[in-house]
Symmetry: C2
Subunit: 329 residues, 2 copies
């Protein structure tokens, strides 16, 4: 099969690879659409010690079952593979499973014509749903999970809360769209890339702004979502959070810099680390995307898998206007 | 009146001061017992920009009303003075009030024969309760508040949770005692000072250990309480917290060092900043202390107010075996 392979720092090669061999209780899926994630970018930059080249990246995938119990079924992949039996898995917090794995991390991912994955990780795509938009299920579930964590910890219901979302990549944008769908009182989306800001303005109702030109109001927000995760955005999060507020830390850009834990303590600010989603988050997100609750989703951009390497370069250079590039096979 | 006055870095002078003049709706209280708090120590070290000498410190006080609506009543002081009308005050989160003040911070504290305080900040002490033990209400309410925040955020009930408490000053020790009273499955109390460890062994049922000799188990605890709050204890907190766990950050020793926010994110660890208490926390704590639920409380040490300066030196030098020194007038 053809695959886009991460071979070295900032190097992707489109080449022939052996077809995957599904293990026991696994299906073989013919990939149709697969999104490029910030964590794929991070790996390609050589910043993720868990992802060692040569490796087929990619985990935001939709395809058709080739081999398995239901051949021909169109499916979204839950890329997070967990044991299914530990306390966390049985408690609905599969994302905390000590044995968790993700496709495109150690085992091969979905930047390829085919991918093998456990049968239980397949979620049926509703009839009539656009395949590329279904590929937003994975980042959307990350966003839904982040909003759910905030909702559970917040003293105020979302409908009375003011929210700041930092970063308008797909996770940040979907977080803002989910907050708007839940009726949040105020949703401000911060993004430094002017091309992305324009795309968001053109295709959504989000209020988006440049945080460099207009720093977010300090000591103001009930909920802050950091979908970037670097020293600067953490500083912004803590400064803009009001007393008793919630910061959800989603992005993994760097692990540097100190945090103003004194302010967090004196103002009772909570910081929640947020990683992926549960199977239920994925299902709910797929339904939400299909229902139109999150808008037209016309802000995605499609490219052939063979051109994926160029997309990585463009995204890295800030030349890509779309919050999400979906590769098509 | 006589008062113990913080006059300069690491300097306390016992001297004559003008009697306080209660304002409108304020009572004048004759102080009987007043504890030395870690934040008093911090101020005395010159590390708290909010507390500027010369200043009468002290806010963990019990006394008798001299002037006010109920003269002769024995009362615990709620040292946190709030507006009473903002959203936070009316929502029961008075500790977040933007107009909050604490006695011994800007206005005069209770290391004195008399202190003025709003009538609404007085809580009646039950008949027969020892005055020195009632002075544990304020640190106890801080501990109760911390446990309540953890309880609300934790996926597991306290009775199924393993907890690590870092620091066996009064707040840390009371946190451990409250967790034991709530039936926590495991409570481990870390303290580096051998004198304090011995006091805890002699007077409580807490399992206490030296974290330098025996570092706490990594990736293990459902709940971690950092009652110290420095770079080292934050590192220990994050390393020892299991996936999906809660860290409550109570101490304010320093604001330095970076935090492993990558681990917090990948393992969905939540860090909750925790500051003081609500009036309800104080009342519940006073009842708990009086009921015997938190043990005999015989680990406090009494000294005359005039000897308070020496107590500051001893605590600072690690020569004080008691988790709490209560000054008596």
């Amino acid at each position: 099969m053809k695959a886009l392979v991460y071979t070295a720092n900032q190097q992707m090669i489109y080449r022939d690879e052996p077809d995957p061999a599904p293990g026991q209780d696994e299906a073989l899926v013919s990939v149709q659409s697969v999104g490029i994630c910030g964590s794929d970018m991070h790996a390609w930059m050589g910043h993720d010690p868990r992802r060692v080249p040569p490796l087929i990246l990619g985990h935001e995938a939709v395809g058709v079952v080739l081999q398995g119990s239901e051949p021909g079924k169109r499916v979204v992949l839950n890329p997070l593979i967990t044991c299914g039996t530990c306390d966390d898995c049985s408690g609905g917090r599969q994302n905390l499973c000590a044995h968790r794995d993700l496709i495109g991390m150690v085992r091969a991912g979905a930047f390829a014509e085919q991918v093998a994955i456990p049968e239980q990780n397949l979620i049926e795509v509703p009839d009539g749903m656009d395949t590329s938009k279904a590929a937003l299920t994975e980042p959307g579930a990350t966003a839904l999970h982040a909003v759910s964590l905030a909702e559970k910890s917040s003293a105020r219901p979302i409908s009375e809360a003011s929210a700041l979302v930092i970063g308008a990549g797909s996770v940040g944008l979907l977080t803002a769209l989910i907050l708007l769908d839940k009726g949040a009182a105020q949703v401000d989306l911060a993004e430094t890339n002017p091309l992305r800001r324009q795309t968001v303005i053109d295709h959504t109702d989000c209020r988006i702004f440049d945080p460099i030109k207009n720093p977010p109001r300090q000591n103001h927000y009930d909920l802050v979502f950091d979908a970037v995760g670097n020293a600067k955005t953490r500083d912004t999060s803590i400064a803009s959070a009001r007393p008793g507020s919630i910061i959800v830390h989603i992005g993994l850009m760097d692990n540097k810099g100190s945090m103003d834990v004194r302010r967090m303590t004196l103002q009772e600010i909570t910081l929640i680390g947020c990683y992926t989603y549960s199977p239920l988050d994925l299902r709910v997100t797929l339904r939400k995307l299909h229902s139109g609750a999150l808008g037209t989703l016309d802000w995605i951009e499609s490219r052939p898998l063979g051109d994926g390497g160029g997309a990585f370069d463009e995204i890295h250079n800030g030349d890509c206007a779309a919050p999400k590039v979906v590769l098509q096979i």
